[in-house]
Amino acid sequence: MNATPGNGFAPWLADDGPAADTGLAWLDSRRAQARAQVRDQGIPTTKQEAWRYTSLTRLLEQGFTPTAKATTPLEPRDLEPLLVPGLEAYRVVLVNGRFVPGLSDLQHLPAGLRVGGLAQILKSDPDALKDRLNGVAGETQPLFAALNTAGLDDGVVVLLERGAQVERPIELIHLSVGMDEPRVAQPRHVVALEAGAQASLIERYVSLGEALYCTNSVLELSLGRDAVLKHQRIQTESANAFHIAGLYLSLGAGSRYQCVNVGLGASWARTDLNVRFAGEHAECDLQGLYLAGDRQLMDFHLDVDHRLPHCSSRENFKGILYGKGRAVFDGRVYVAKDAQRTDAAMSNRNLLLSEGAEVDTKPQLEINADDVKCSHGTTVGQIEPEQLFYLRSRGISAPLARRMLCLGFAGEILDCLTPDALRDQVAEQVGSRLEQAPID
C-alpha cells in the first residue's frame, strides 16, 4: 500500500490491521481518501488554533497500534459491575471497538428501531450506510476523524424510522480491556432519526482495569424534521487511557437535540462537538460537566454553526479542577449573515480546588446577522470561604463540606441526567472522585 501516512500516526493504520480491504468499493475509496488526508495534514502543533492548548506529544509517545481482531472472550457477568444499577435499556456493547452480540441485549426491539454492529450491517445491508458514512462528517475531515475513517471497520448503528418513538433508552457501552500492548480502537457510530422520531441514547465509555489504551471514536448523528433526541455521554475511561471523540451533528427543521456530556475518566481526553443546523426552528442544548485531577487533561471543543435562521442553541459547561488537573474549553458559536432570529447562549464556569490546577477557556461568538439574541460568559473561581464556614459551623467536616459544595456546583448538570438511576450513578462517581482529590 502506498498511501501509508507520513506522520506519527502511521502505526494506527498498519496494513494488517483494520485497513485491509472491505470488499466494498465505495468504502475502500473513502478510507483511501481519509488515509491521504491523514498523510497530508501532518501532526497538528500548538501553533494551530484547534490545538493551541493541547499537545499531542504524550499521545504520540505511546506507540498505539490497532486492536487485533480477536479480543479476550468476556461473559455477561464480566460486564455486570460496569452497568448502571436499575437501568433498563436496549443495550449494545462494543469491546475494544468491536460489536459483541453476546454481551448486547437487543432482543424485542420495537418496530421502527434498528440497532446493531456497523461491520455486520456493512455486510448484510451496505446500502443502509452508504449515504450515512461521512454523510454528516463530510469528506474533508480533521486529523482524528480522518484517522477513524481510514481505519473504519466497526461501531454501532442506530436507525429510527419516521415517527417511531422509543421510550426505553438505547445504551451504547464501549468497553476497553487492556491488551498485551497499547492499542487504539476507532469505533464509528452512526445514529439517524427520521422525521418525527424520538429516542434517548446513552453512550458510555468504560474499562476493566486501569489499562493504557486509546479510543478514537466518531459519531455521526442526523435528526430529521421534528425529531427529538436526548443524548447522554458518560466518559469514565481508565485513568491511563487516551480518549478522543468527534461528534458530528446535523439537526433538521424543528428538531430538538440535547446532549449531556460528562467527562470524568482518561488521562488525556479531547471531545469535539460539531453542530450544524440543517433546517429552521431547531433547538440544540449542549450541557457538560468535567472533572480533572492530577495528570489529567479534559479538552472540549464546541463548534456550533448557525447557518439558518430561527434556531436556538445552549452551551453550558462546568468544570471542577483539582491537584494538577488541566482543562480546555474552546466554544465557538458562528451565526451566518442570514441566520436572523438566532438565539444562542454559551457559558463555561470552572471551580479550581487547588493552586496547581489550570483551565484555558475561550468562548467565542462570531455574529454576522443583526437580529439575534446571543450571549456568552465564563468564570473561573474557587470555593467561597463563607460557604465553607457555613457548612462547618453546622458540624460538617471541611472535606465533606468542600465535596458538598462541588456537588452543588455540578448539580445543575447532573440534574439533566435521566433516568434517576443514571443520575445517581454519575453523582456517586463524581463524589468518589472528589473524595480522593487532594485537598490543598
Partner: protein
C-alpha cells in the same frame, strides 16, 4: 456551660474585643445589646470559629472544653450553634441533604448512631410542624433564592433539627418585618428548654418583646459595661445607648 474571661480579639490590627467577661448557665437566655461597632457580631463569630479574627487574650470554656482551640465543626459537635445574621446561599445543595449530613456528623461525633432516611424525614416533618413551616423548604437548595424572612426561618429550623446546647442568634431580628419577627420568635420560644441556653445578639429592644431574656448585657467598645435583668432593655429603649456612655461607633 459557657464561661468567657477577659476575651480580646482583633480583626486585622484593630482590637475589637477588649477584655470581655460573660458567664452563661444552662437553660438561660441572655441578650447582648449594643450600638453598631461595639463588637456584638465579632463576639458571635469568634465563638463560632470563623476565620479572620485573632484572639489575643482571655479564654472561652464551653462544656468544660477550651472552645477557642476547636475547629468550627468540633464546636458544633459540642453543641454550639450560630444563627447567621446573613445566612449563606448554597446553590445546588439540597436543604434536606445538608441537614441530614449535619445532624449525622454531629451524632457520629457524639458516638450516636446515624439516622436513616426514614427516621430523618420523620424528624424533619415533626419540626416543620412545631415551627409552622412549609415542607417545600425541604426540597429547595439551602437559602438559595430565599427571602430575608425565609432565610432566618431556615436558621431556626436548622437549630430545631440540630438541637444545640447553646444557640447564638446573631441579629436574627435584622431585616424582618413584624410578622416575620413574630414567626422567628415563636420558633425560638418553642425551642426553649432547661437544657438549652440562648444568646440573643441584637441592636434593638424589639426582639425582646417576643423573646423574654433572663439577663441583658450591654456591650460597648469591646467590653460588657452593664448587666441586668430584662428591665435593662426597657431602660435602653427609653434612654438610648448614650445614657451609658456607649456612643455609636459608626
Amino acid at each position: 456551660m459557657l464561661s468567657i474571661k477577659g476575651l480580646k480579639a482583633n480583626v486585622g490590627d484593630k482590637e475589637i474585643l477588649k477584655g470581655l467577661d460573660l458567664e452563661i448557665g444552662r437553660g438561660e437566655v441572655h441578650a447582648i445589646m449594643g450600638p453598631n461597632g461595639s463588637g456584638k457580631s465579632t463576639l458571635a463569630h469568634v465563638l463560632s470559629g470563623r476565620e479572620g479574627y485573632t484572639v489575643t487574650g482571655g479564654s472561652v470554656t464551653f462544656e468544660g472544653q477550651d472552645l477557642l482551640d476547636l475547629e468550627p465543626e468540633a464546636r458544633a459537635h459540642l453543641g454550639l450553634f450560630l444563627a447567621f445574621q446573613y445566612p449563606v446561599e448554597l446553590p445546588g445543595v439540597n436543604n434536606t441533604y445538608f441537614l441530614k449530613a449535619a445532624l449525622n456528623a454531629i451524632r457520629k461525633a457524639r458516638g450516636e448512631p446515624e439516622l436513616d432516611a426514614v427516621s430523618f424525614l420523620r424528624l424533619m416533618k415533626e419540626k416543620l410542624k412545631v415551627l409552622h413551616l412549609d415542607d417545600s423548604l425541604l426540597k429547595r437548595p439551602v437559602n438559595f433564592g430565599f427571602s430575608g424572612g425565609e432565610k432566618k426561618r431556615n436558621e431556626i429550623f436548622q437549630m430545631a433539627i440540630l438541637e444545640p446546647k447553646l444557640a447564638i442568634l446573631d441579629e436574627t431580628d435584622s431585616g424582618l418585618d413584624i410578622d416575620a419577627l413574630r414567626i422567628v420568635a415563636d420558633g425560638v420560644n418553642a425551642l426553649r428548654s432547661p437544657e438549652r441556653s440562648v444568646i440573643l445578639v441584637t441592636h434593638y429592644q424589639r426582639l425582646l418583646d417576643y423573646i423574654q431574656p433572663d439577663y441583658v448585657h450591654v456591650l460597648a467598645k469591646g467590653q460588657i459595661i452593664r448587666s441586668g435583668g430584662k428591665e435593662l432593655a426597657l431602660e435602653l429603649e427609653d434612654k438610648g445607648y448614650g445614657w451609658l456612655g456607649a456612643e455609636e461607633a459608626a
